[in-house]
Amino acid sequence: MAGIPSGHFVLLSRRVQARVRAYYDEEFDEGAAPSVHFENVGVRYGMGPEVLRDLTFSIEPNSFQFLTGPSGAGKTTLLRLILLSVKPTRGLISLFGEDVSRISKNELTGLRRRMGVVFQDFRLLDHLTTYENVALPLRVQGKDEGSYRAEVVELLRWVGLGDRMHMLPPVLSGGEKQRAAIARALIVRPDLLLADEPTGNVDPSLAKRLLRLFIELNRLGTSVVIATHDFSLMDQLNVRRLVLGDGRLHIDE
């Protein structure tokens, strides 16, 4: 139990506490199943050449890593593989210890609820306010609005969107949209966070602040993968780097 982060833990519901405990027992007492495990994974689009090949790596629970590489190296494709929105043409992918090649749609939803994702193009819903966008992952789980209102507002204030709560995304600036997208990914405190260029549209001081948010989340038990080619961001942290180049993966411990 020593590994469970304190602080906010007591505020979680019993059910979630039990899940977190089970998770920690499984992860630390019996040899952890990695959050993500790839084995000889390759992807090609149509009849083209393989854009990613021979990917073999693991993302451990509660780890923090950058995914980097030049533009077009396949960072986004790799994230989409983990999100199960792109199917590998060969190889094996398992998420949280579960082989995903033949999972049902319900299991897929279950896995996605354990993942938070920040898209490069934000993917906010334009007809919902910032608040509603951030609350969306909780709403689709059928939770009552009263149960998460304070939490969402708090997170919005933390990312500096406290006074943008009622605005629709089209009137937000690029940086504001990005922060809303990040908040949406963080709100469920996922087991795995995937962020595609999460600091691409913000100034360095805000980038630092957002990075701190990711670190905080990591400390609460989330594995974090940040895809970026911003070296100044990566230099702020001495963590594992997954480097994509030429369709292959090189790991920089």
Binding site: H8, E60, N106, R112, R113, M165, L237
Partner: protein, 328 residues
């Protein structure tokens, strides 16, 4: 891999301070409960209009069928309550005795309220429309009628009466109008059946319109559906969202349609009432009754409106489920 130990304020520990500052300003609900699937106003309005028209037609069909069913029940009960005995003249027998005997026999039958013989003059008057007035019927063998009124809601068995008439009053025939009633029933049932069939057709048409509209909405909201999937919505949740939206649309359309049909019925009722004295009005009233539908008629129209809305919701949900299953 290094663990971060940066001295930032912890996310959650910061919460109470922020809460104190913001609690008063926090509105009761920040969510407008906006539909997750954006409402495409142009397409939505068109669908609502189609549903309104279809419901209007269905309500008219159902209302008409109900009208016919009610007035045919009225006819039938009136005709079925009356039975006649016809006595053909026979030179070897006394007509007056036969009539008196038949009346006695009829009155003995259980369920009979009255048995009223037509006098000779009354019987002759019945022939006037065909033969003209001022004729001397003395030489003409005019049959005599006995009109039997039955007690309300009673269908006695006429077998014994028929037998005793045959025995005691040869030349008497009993007519219980069964043929007429069955013909009327067939006609009324045909009209009612046609009405039900038309309502069913309208429901199918509404369903098909919803299928097309839903598929269009799904294609137009592909991005939204994808995001909903990524944030952890399952197919059932998405299907429910579409169902909610289309049910409301359907309810609005069908309420307009049914309301229109009811207003039309009321107006027609008023018009026929003002015509009542005229021959045309009499004709209409003879066919349709008073042209005011009963409360069952209103109930049927409201039921159809609800049914159309329900079909709209359920069909859109099924369409979404199929669409999502077909597209991974």
């Amino acid at each position: 891999m290094s663990r971060m130990n940066a001295p930032q304020p912890r996310l959650k520990r910061a919460a109470p301070q922020k809460e104190q500052g913001g609690a008063k300003r926090l509105p009761a609900s920040l969510s407008r409960n906006a539909p997750l699937v954006p409402v495409d106003s142009a397409g939505g309005q068109a669908l609502a209009a189609v549903i309104a028209i279809l419901t209007f037609l269905a309500a008219l069909c159902a209302g008409g069928a109900e009208l016919v069913s009610a007035s045919s029940a009225q006819w039938r009960s009136e005709i079925a309550r009356e039975v006649t005995i016809q006595i053909r003249p026979n030179p070897q027998r006394s007509m007056e005795d036969d009539v008196a005997r038949a009346v006695v026999l009829a009155r003995q039958t259980p369920g009979v309220e009255t048995a009223q013989p037509f006098t000779k003059e009354e019987s002759e008057r019945l022939l006037e429309p065909w033969l003209g007035t001022g004729l001397d019927f003395k030489d003409l063998p005019v049959p005599r009628l006995i009109v039997i009124k039955l007690k309300e809601d009673e269908r006695p068995d006429f077998g014994p009466l028929r037998q005793s008439l045959q025995k005691d009053v040869p030349g008497a025939t009993l007519d219980d109008h069964a043929l007429w009633v069955s013909r009327l029933s067939t006609m009324a049932n045909t009209i009612i059946g046609t009405g039900i069939f038309l309502v069913a057709l309208v429901l199918v048409a509404a369903g098909l319109a919803v299928v097309f509209a839903t598929r269009g909405a799904m294609a137009g909201n592909k991005e939204v559906v994808e995001v909903l999937h990524f944030v952890g919505a399952n197919d059932d949740f998405i299907a429910k969202e579409f169902q909610r939206r289309f049910f409301r649309l359907g309810l609005r359309g069908s309420a307009f349609g049914a309301g229109g049909a009811l207003v039309l019925t009321i107006i027609l009722g008023l018009i026929t009432r003002s015509w009542r004295a005229s021959p045309a009005g009499d004709q209409i009233e003879a066919l349709f009754g008073a042209f005011s539908i009963s409360w069952t008629g209103y109930l049927v129209v409201i039921l159809i409106a609800l049914l159309v809305a329900l079909v709209t919701g359920v069909v859109s949900r099924l369409t979404v489920r199929r669409f999502l299953n077909g597209n991974g």
